[in-house]
Amino acid sequence: MYTQSFNVPDQAGQKTVAVTPSTEDAELMARFDARIDADGRIEPQDWMPEAYRKTLVRQISQHAHSEIVGMLPEGNWISRAPSLKRKAILIAKVQDEGGHGLYLYSAAETLGTSRDQLLEGLHSGKAKYSSIFNYPTLNWADVGAIGWLVDGAAIMNQIPLCRCSYGPYSRAMVRVCKEESFHQRQGYEALLVMMKGTQAQRDMVQDAVNRLWWKCLAMFGPPDADSPNSAQGMRWGIKRISNDDLRQKFVDATVPQAKVLGITLPDPDLKWNEARQHYDYGQIDWQEFWDTVEGNGPCNKERLATRVKAHNDGQWVRDAAQAYARKQQERAMKEAA
């Protein structure tokens, strides 16, 4: 669901990969550039500069990790979903996120990095995932609010990626976006129903929105002025619209929806600017954002440790499958002999 824009580096302080390939064959590079300029697609078998490959592996794997880690905050409410219908919707939704992870890992694998390597990056803390998942889901309305706001923000980020220059990623994003847009409407509908319920339910919705709103604005990444790597992403057709433009688009789309819902967005500076024809909004707390990205959010340790534990606990299951497959192969060879 949630690419957080690839200008969040893997490790704090680490610079992104070199922008200009120095030793690449000039002719191949020229052909690559021409394809990008013509808005064509780069496919796995095509030559590509090493920096492009690395950047893509990092961006796609961050995205895949976000899908997988993102299963946990919503998974937190599956066992307590207040109706069977909502339980089924939530399981299906979390399962969709897992599915997105699966095909994003596959897309990353076409760039020559195995799923094991990608998971190792996540588990060691080297690779990042969207920081929005480092916050707890504290009431049932969080489930609806994540669908409405977090998936809504993700869609803003991701629709441009359907036209991304790397073929497998762009094609994966077409399906991801369709499902995310379904999730967003589902989340919004869940909140609408709650708002028509009891006062306690309306309070839950407001509480969830209060906690999530600013985190969602931060999901688009640092302001353009502080995003030195965006230009290269734009040049390569990996990033199509700037962080600030996407953020504005999200705010403009969401304010009217909040009105229909009947909740207040927690920003006293939020107001329509007639001259800009956009909503103005207040200051995002970037210090808090970076603190969380760097590992000091309320749930970073729990999220990552849970992924690591699931992986480690599952080792014997994966080993069993491989051992059995080997035995089957040996049996087949014996029979053939």
């Binding site: 299963m71 979903a81 109706s83 399981i91 299906a92 979390v94 992870g101 299951v317």
Partner: protein, 260 residues
Amino acid sequence: MSATIDYLLHLADNAVVLGQRDAEWCGHGPILEEDLALANVSLDLIGQARLLYQRAAELKGDGTTEDQLAYFRDSQAFRNYTLLELPHHGALVGYAVADRDYAATIVRNFLYSALMVHVWDALQTSADSTLAGIAAKSLKEATYHLHHSRDWLVRMGDGTDESHARAQAAVNHLLPYTEEFWTVSPAEAAAVEAGVGVDVRSLRGAWDALVNDALAEATLTRPQVRGYVPQGKVGLHSEHLGFLLAEMQSLARAHPDGCW
């Protein structure tokens, strides 16, 4: 009428309780593909439970809803097999905490789906035509669940020493609970009498054949079953169901006037 309702509740409670258990793996599966598969199984079961509760509510005819049946009955009123409410690990008391063991999950899903493919098959000709329709849909799902769990049972049994030991331990732990399948509750007897239900005893041979065949292929041993025969389907449960329901029902019960 009440015989049909009681029987529907037995089938629905089975589905909702196992659906609740299997969903516990969501986000914690041993590999991403299995995370998705278990969520699928759980979704099928929740879907079955909804249809069965809806039919029971319709027959009650007093405005009861599927959610009232799932969320506002206490554990003594639940009619599921005890096997299905057990946590995903070995024998421990209700308030014990232990890691989930995928072998327990797979063995349980196998033992149950090996029964349900026959139950749903027979119920396709139930005198209750709505139940017959649900059975036809559920048979397809149970067939997939059996396929999935049997494949993994064989992989585990014939995989590594560790997976073999875990699978055997899970079989030893869970197989005795299947003795409950072959007892006949008053609700089942009444449903059979009304032409609505199936006499489970008639399915035992077919179930045995499925189980023995899979265990043999998995190089696992079928333990001699003795001892306590559980009675979940008459409302006498293990210590585990209370905790499962406490969690499942907590939000709905905290806001009984809420709409979701």
